[in-house]
C-alpha cells in the first residue's frame, strides 16, 4: 500500500503549513531540488518535493506538476502570502526541522517500506 502525507508528517515530525485538508493524498515518490526549472522538467505527478526554496513560484510549480506536497527543509520561514496562495491552489506545504539530506533519507525509508 502506498503511504500518504498524514503518515509521512507523523513519522518525520513535519508541520503542515498549508493544505491540511489534503493530507490523505498518497505519495508516488520524491524529488529533491532547489531549481524550479529542474522540478518542472523532471518531477512527476504525485511526488513529494523536498526543497529549501520558499519563493511563491513553488506553489505554481507544484500545482502544474500535480505534486503531492512540498516539504520545506530546515524550518525555513514561508511568507504568509505564499501559504495563502497554496491554500487557494490546494497545494500542501509541510515544514521539516531537518536538513534536506536527513528529510530525504527518512522519507525514502518510509516510502520504500510501505
Amino acid at each position: 500500500m502506498k503511504t500518504n502525507l498524514r503518515l509521512l508528517a507523523k513519522e518525520l515530525g513535519l508541520t503542515c503549513l498549508a493544505g491540511d485538508a489534503f493530507l490523505d493524498r498518497t505519495i508516488e515518490g520524491a524529488y529533491v531540488s532547489d531549481l524550479l526549472s529542474d522540478v518542472m522538467g523532471k518531477a512527476n505527478a504525485g511526488m513529494i518535493w523536498i526543497t529549501s526554496q520558499v519563493h511563491r513560484n513553488i506553489v505554481a510549480v507544484s500545482s502544474l506538476k500535480e505534486l503531492s506536497a512540498i516539504i520545506v527543509v530546515n524550518e525555513r520561514p514561508v511568507d504568509p502570502v505564499v501559504l495563502a496562495h497554496a491554500e487557494e491552489e490546494e497545494v500542501v506545504i509541510l515544514s521539516s526541522g531537518l536538513p534536506a539530506f536527513e528529510t530525504a533519507g527518512l522519507a525514502f525509508n518510509l516510502i520504500n517500506d510501505n
Binding site: 531549481l35 524550479l36 526549472s37 518542472m40 519563493h55 513560484n57 505554481a60 511568507d79
Partner: protein
Amino acid sequence: MPWYNADLHIHTCLSPCGSLEMSPRRIIARACERGLQVIAITDHNSTRNVQVCMECGAAADIMVIPGCEVNTQEEVHCLCYFPHLEALEQFQEYLDRQIFDIPHDAGRFGYQVAVNADEQIVFEESRSLFTGIRDGIEALEKVVHDLGGVFVPAHIDRQVYGLLSQLGFIPQELACDALELSRRITPVAFIRSHPELEGRGFLQSSDAHRPEDIGSLHTRFQMEQAGWDYFRKALLEQRFEAMNVPPVKKDGGW
C-alpha cells in the same frame, strides 16, 4: 534622435570573480577604446567602487550609471541601476544589512577590493559578496524602485543564477523594467524557446570580468542625450536594441 552604445554589466576588482586589472581607470580607458558612451558598474552585492568609476568616467566623457548585481535569497542575479550617488548610498546601507556575515576567503575566491583613481587599494570587503542576500527577489525589486532605480534580472537564459533556472518562470508580480540575456544567445533565438516573453525588452551587456571583455557585446539606446532621465525613458519606452556584437566606433567623433 541619436543612438548611444552602452555596456551595462561590468564588474570591477571589488567582485571576487573580477580581475584585479579591473580598476576604474582601466575600465574607462577600455570603454573609450571600444566606442562605448554609457557603461554601468555592477559588482556583486556591493557598490563601493562605483563613485570612483563615475569620476573617471566624467573626465573621459563616458556616462557611468551607478549599479549593482545583487544575488537574491533564491540565488537569482539581478541588475539594479540608480539615478545618482545619494540613492546608491542608501542602497549600500540596505546591502550592509542584507548580506550575511560569512567570512570571505580571498585565496579561493579572489580579492574584494575597492581602489581609488590611482589604483591604490582603499578598502577590502571581509564578508563574502558572492552568496545570496537575506531578501527575496520581490523585496529587492521594491527597494530598487522605491529608490527611483531600474530593476533588470540578469542573464535569464543561463542555467545558473538566472531567473528562469532558479524560479522556473517570471513571477507575475515582479516589476522588471527589462530582462538581460547572456552573450550565449540572441533575443530572436531566445524568443523561439520562450514565446511567452515576446514583446519584453531585452538587454545584452558584456558581464565583463576582465578588461578585454568590456564592450564585447552591447545594447544601443536612442536618447535625446546621455543622462539618467533620458536613459530611464528610453528603457521604459523600449527605445533600445540588444546587439550581440561589439559597437563600431565612428571616425571623427559621434
